[in-house]
């Protein structure tokens, strides 16, 4: 999706600790990402990649440490922070009773995107021929493509993607790769948890397990 260039911004986290169920999942983790940059989160299952993405989204709260957007703590206005990010987690948030187009039009209206943006996002992710089909009959991969299309039309500078390549076929992987690089060219930011091919050759890697302040933040 092409569009206007985003304002330069910087998103960073300092000395984040997070406890889940009495267990310390993230310890003393720091990162910094600026416009046009991408960061890939690595680590084995259960190492806290999803937790970190939810922290970055403001959905979860860190036990200690701070997340800042251009120097402002994100917890001061979580709604505003939500509006500047697109999030694709493990759950696709696709309503079975609605068609693909209706699903996306709803999210577009919340984000101030136009109907033409929806059509373009559907075309990008190969959903145009499914537009008027109820989402009940979609496969897991197709639902996931709807979730990615929602991120693409969010018009938000920061994209948080949790293992977005899961369940995608080659064509969708290609579409995602192109979409991601277009987003970076617009001055967007991408943080992505991934096991396999990251789709982002120039992205920095943040090892979620490490306990030292992240050197990747340099």
């Amino acid at each position: 999706m092409s569009g206007p260039v985003f304002n330069t911004a910087e998103f960073s986290g300092a000395r984040l600790n997070c406890q889940r169920g009495g267990r310390l999942v993230l310890t003393n983790l720091s990162f910094r990402i600026a416009s046009g940059e991408a960061m890939v989160l690595r680590g084995p299952n259960g190492s806290g990649k999803t937790t970190l993405l939810r922290l970055m989204a403001g959905l979860a709260r860190a036990t200690s440490g701070a997340l800042t957007w251009n120097g402002d703590d994100i917890s001061e206005d979580l709604s505003a922070h939500g509006a500047r990010l697109g999030f694709a987690g493990h759950l696709d948030a696709v309503k079975s009773a609605q068609t693909v187009r209706e699903n996306l039009l709803f999210w577009a209206s919340l984000r101030g995107a136009r109907a033409s943006d929806v059509e373009r996002a559907m075309a990008t992710f190969g959903l145009s021929h499914l537009a008027d089909i109820t989402a009940r009959v979609l496969s897991a991969g197709q639902r996931h493509r709807v979730a990615l299309a929602r991120v693409a039309l969010s018009n938000a500078p920061l994209w948080l993607l949790d293992e977005p390549t899961n369940t995608l076929d080659d064509a969708a992987l290609n579409a995602l790769r192109n979409t991601l690089s277009a987003h970076l060219h617009r001055g967007g930011m991408i943080v992505m948890a991934s096991h396999g091919d990251s789709l982002l050759p120039h992205a920095r890697t943040l090892d979620v397990r490490q306990t030292q302040p992240a050197s990747a933040a340099a």
Binding site: S79, G82, K95, A97, L110
Partner: protein
């Protein structure tokens, strides 16, 4: 504001497409009331004596039926995450969903209530009071229900927990709702019960959306 209407419209579309939801509420309402009628026996004066209480009790239980799903479905499929991140104020989202719940549940009960009341031999002079008290009382049921649904989100056996949490809170609405109908049967002006029901509604309107929104934030963590 446009986000508020978008959510409201979508909630209504979704619940109308799964018509089962609305029909279940009405069917439960009718069947539960019928159980009372069968349990009490065919004596008309006994039935008409308890009609106001039975209609109100069963309406209240029927309203609870669909509350569990108010946020749970969105929580399970990730929609709640996306809604919280959409930039729409969580309070506006809660209000939109609660209004949708009332329109599909409270309104359905309001329409079905005269029929059920008729089956229970409610005296003719009490129908006006029944409708007014339901109109004032059912929105409060939805608002309190939103808080309960948000608090029990993600809990195992959330439905049972929800009932335990909400039914005690519903008692004042039941008392004054039934009292309004009772007053009309006896020919007494129902001003006091109406005033209390209206007061409860205003209190719920000002407190519940914020409480529910902050409970939702906690549930997502």
């Amino acid at each position: 504001m446009s986000g508020f209407f978008a959510i409201l419209r979508r909630e209504l579309t979704l619940s109308l497409r799964s018509q089962g939801d609305v029909m279940t509420v009405i069917a439960f309402f009718a069947i539960a009331a019928a159980l009372f009628a069968f349990g009490v026996g065919p004596e008309l004066n006994v039935q008409s004596r308890i009609a106001s209480g039975v209609v109100w009790t069963t309406a209240l239980l029927a309203a609870m039926l669909s509350l569990e799903r108010l946020f749970a479905l969105d929580y399970e499929d990730g929609t709640l995450d996306q809604l919280v991140l959409s930039g729409v104020e969580p309070v506006a989202m809660v209000v939109a969903k609660t209004i949708a719940h009332w329109l599909t549940t409270g309104m359905a009960l309001l329409i079905a209530a005269p029929v059920v009341a008729m089956a229970l031999q409610l005296p003719a002079q009490a129908y006006g009071a029944l409708m007014i008290s339901l109109l004032l009382g059912t929105p409060t049921l939805s608002l309190l229900g939103a808080v309960g649904a948000a608090l029990t989100l993600g809990a195992k056996r959330g439905g049972v927990l929800l009932s335990l949490l909400l039914l005690p809170l519903y008692i004042p609405i039941l008392i004054f709702g039934a009292a309004a109908v009772e007053g009309a049967i006896l020919g007494v002006a129902s001003t006091t019960p109406y005033a209390v029901l209206g007061g409860l509604l205003i209190a719920a309107l000002t407190l519940c959306p914020w409480t529910a929104a902050s409970a939702l934030r906690h549930a997502l963590e």
